[in-house]
Amino acid sequence: MPLSGVADSLHAGPNSRTLLALYGREIRAELVKMLRNRAYSFSAVGFPVIFYLLFSSINRHPGPEGRETARYLLASYSCFGAVGAALFGIGNGLAYERGHGWLELKRASPMPPMAYLVAKLASSLVFSLTICLLLVALGPLVSGRMLASPGEIVDLLGVVAVGTIPFASLGLLFGLAVPPGSGPGLVNLLYLPLSFCGGLWVPVELLPKWMQSFAQYLPTFWFSRLALHVFGFTGYSMLVGYGVLATYTVVLLGISARVWRVSEARA
C-alpha cells in the first residue's frame, strides 16, 4: 500500500507537458464538436454574416462617407459575431451538457474542471475570430473597396479576442443558471436585445435618446466602441471601455462561481 501511495502521488500532479496535451485534446474535441454541430455553426456564423450583408447593402453610399459607414458596420458586426459565438457556444453548450448529465460524468472523471472551461472559451474564440475574418473578407464585396489595412485587421482581431472574454463569462453564468432545455430560446432573449441596444446592429446615435443613455451601461456598447476605435471612431475613452469589460468579466465570473457552489450544495 505505501508503495502504490508513492506511485499515486506521482500521478496526482501530472507534469505540465501531459497537462498541456490534455488541454489541447479537450480544446480540439470541443472545436470539432462545435464545427460539426450545424445548429451552432450555422447560426453563430450565419447570423452576423447575413445581418452584415443586409445592413451593408442598405447603407451603401459612394464617396468617403460611404467608406466610413462600411467600416463602422464591419467593426460592429464583428462584435455581434463574437457575442453570438460566446453566448451560443458557451451558454447553450453548457446548459445542454449540464442539463442532461454529461457535465456530471465529466466531473466524475479526473478531467481538470478548468480544461472544460478553457476548451469552451478557446472554441468560441476561434469562432469569433473566424467570423471577424469572414466579415473582413466580405467587406470589399459589399462595399466595392478595401475597408481595412492589414494593421487595422490585426488590431480588430485583437479587440474581438479580448471582447469575447466578458461574453464568455456571461455565457458561463447563463449556462449554469438556466433550467435544462430552455437554453436555445432564452439565449436569443439575451443576445438580440443586448446587441441592438448596445449599437451592434445600427449605430447607437440612431437609437432613441433614452436608449442611448441606457446603452452606456451595456458591455456590448463598450465592446463596439473598442472595435470602432480601431477604425478611427474615437470620442470614447478606451480606458473606460476596457474597465467596463473587465468589471463585467469579474462580476459575472464571481456570480457564476456562487451559482455553481449553490447548485452543487443542492445537487
Binding site: H11, A12, L22, H100, W102, R107, M111, A267
Partner: protein
C-alpha cells in the same frame, strides 16, 4: 503478543485491507427529503456489490456522494482512503452514470480517446472497443447510434482509464436481453481481473446474476445485506406444493408455515423451515402426492424484505425475464 503488538497488527491489517470505497454514516438531506439516512458500507477490493432498492431508495445518491459529485450533509465518503474530490483518487475510478444526452457530433472513438487522456494509464483504445462491443461503430457519430450502443459508449468511457473501481449506475437500462447478458459477462471478467464494481439496479435478476453481495436500500437506509442466497434465506423463502388430505387448520397450525394458499387441487405453503414442515406432512399424510419444493423467486423475497408491493412494476417485469 502484547496489547500494543496486537494493536499494531490490527492497524497493519486494516491498512492492507483498505476498502476500495467507504461510506461512513452518510446522511444527505435535501429540502424536504432525506435521500440518505446514516448509510454505511464499504467495498472490498475485487468484489461486485449491487445496490438494490426501489426508486428513491438512495442508490444513485450513494454513488454521487462516493464520486464526490455531491457532498454529504454529514458523514464521510472515501475512495481508497482518500477524499473523492482529490483528483488522484479519481484516476482509479471509472463511472457509468445515467446521462440523458451527450455530445452527438463526436465519433465514438473521439469520445473514448478524450476520456483515455484523463487517466495516467488508460486501456488501449482497441481493447476498450472490444470489451464494450463497439469496434464496428467506432467511427460513427454518437448521435447516429442506437440506444443500446449509446449505453455501451458510456460503459466504454467508464473503462477507459483501466480503473480499479467501477461505478455502474443502472448500466443495462434500455438494453435488450442479449446486450444485457454481454455486459454482464464483461463485468464478471473485469471482476475476475481484480476490479471492484459497485452497481445500482432495478433488475433483481441483474443483482442476483452479478453481485457477490447485495445491499438492499430503502429510504436511504441499509435494510439488509448479504449474498443473494442469504438474502433469499432471510426473506424466509421456500415453497412447498402438494396434494394432501390434511385440513386447512392443520396446515396453518404448523408454526413453521408462514403462508398458505390454494393452487388448483394443490396447497402452496410458504416457509423458512421446509425440512421440518415436510417431516410433519409426510408423517401425517401417507397419501400425500404431487410434492414439489422450490426456493421463493428472488423478486418475492425482495418484496417481502422491502415491504414494498410496488417497487417498480415496469422494471420488475423486465427483471423477471429469465
Amino acid at each position: 503478543m502484547t496489547a500494543i503488538e496486537r494493536e499494531l497488527e490490527v492497524q497493519r491489517s486494516s491498512m492492507e485491507e483498505q476498502p476500495a470505497a467507504l461510506l461512513q454514516n452518510v446522511t444527505k438531506q435535501y429540502p424536504g427529503h432525506r435521500a440518505l439516512d446514516g448509510l454505511s458500507f464499504s467495498l472490498r477490493a475485487g468484489e461486485i456489490v449491487a445496490l438494490l432498492g426501489p426508486n428513491g431508495a438512495g442508490k444513485t445518491t450513494a454513488i454521487r456522494v462516493l464520486l464526490g459529485l455531491t457532498s454529504p450533509t454529514s458523514g464521510e465518503a472515501r475512495l481508497f482512503g482518500r477524499s473523492p474530490r482529490v483528483r488522484a483518487a479519481r484516476t482509479h475510478v471509472g463511472a457509468m452514470l445515467q446521462v440523458g444526452r451527450m455530445p452527438e457530433s463526436l465519433r465514438v472513438c473521439e469520445h473514448i480517446e478524450l476520456f483515455r487522456g484523463y487517466y495516467p494509464r488508460p486501456l488501449p483504445l482497441q481493447e476498450i472497443l472490444r470489451i464494450a462491443g463497439l469496434a464496428s461503430v467506432s467511427q460513427k457519430l454518437f448521435g447516429d447510434l442506437s440506444g443500446g450502443q449509446k449505453q455501451r459508449v458510456l460503459f466504454a468511457l467508464a473503462l477507459a482509464g483501466d480503473p480499479d473501481l467501477l461505478f455502474l449506475d443502472e448500466p443495462t437500462l434500455g438494453m435488450d436481453i442479449e446486450a444485457r447478458r454481454a455486459l454482464w459477462a464483461e463485468v464478471r471478467s473485469l471482476a475476475a481481473r481484480g476490479k471492484t464494481v459497485l452497481l445500482t439496479t432495478h433488475y433483481l435478476e441483474e443483482a442476483e446474476a452479478l453481485a457477490s453481495r447485495i445491499l438492499l436500500l430503502k429510504n436511504g437506509r441499509l435494510l439488509v445485506e448479504g449474498t443473494p442466497g442469504e438474502l433469499r434465506a432471510r426473506a424466509g423463502a421456500s415453497r412447498i406444493r402438494c396434494r394432501t388430505q390434511l385440513s386447512e387448520p392443520f396446515l396453518l397450525g404448523m408454526p413453521e408455515v408462514k403462508e398458505l394458499r390454494r393452487e388448483g387441487d394443490r396447497w402452496l405453503l410458504c416457509t423458512d423451515a421446509p425440512e421440518a414442515v415436510l417431516r410433519v406432512l409426510l408423517q401425517a399424510d401417507q397419501a400425500l402426492s404431487g410434492l414439489e419444493v422450490s426456493p421463493m423467486p428472488f423478486e418475492e423475497a425482495f418484496l417481502s424484505l422491502t415491504g414494498d408491493a410496488v417497487a417498480e412494476p415496469a422494471a420488475m417485469g423486465q427483471g423477471g425475464l429469465a
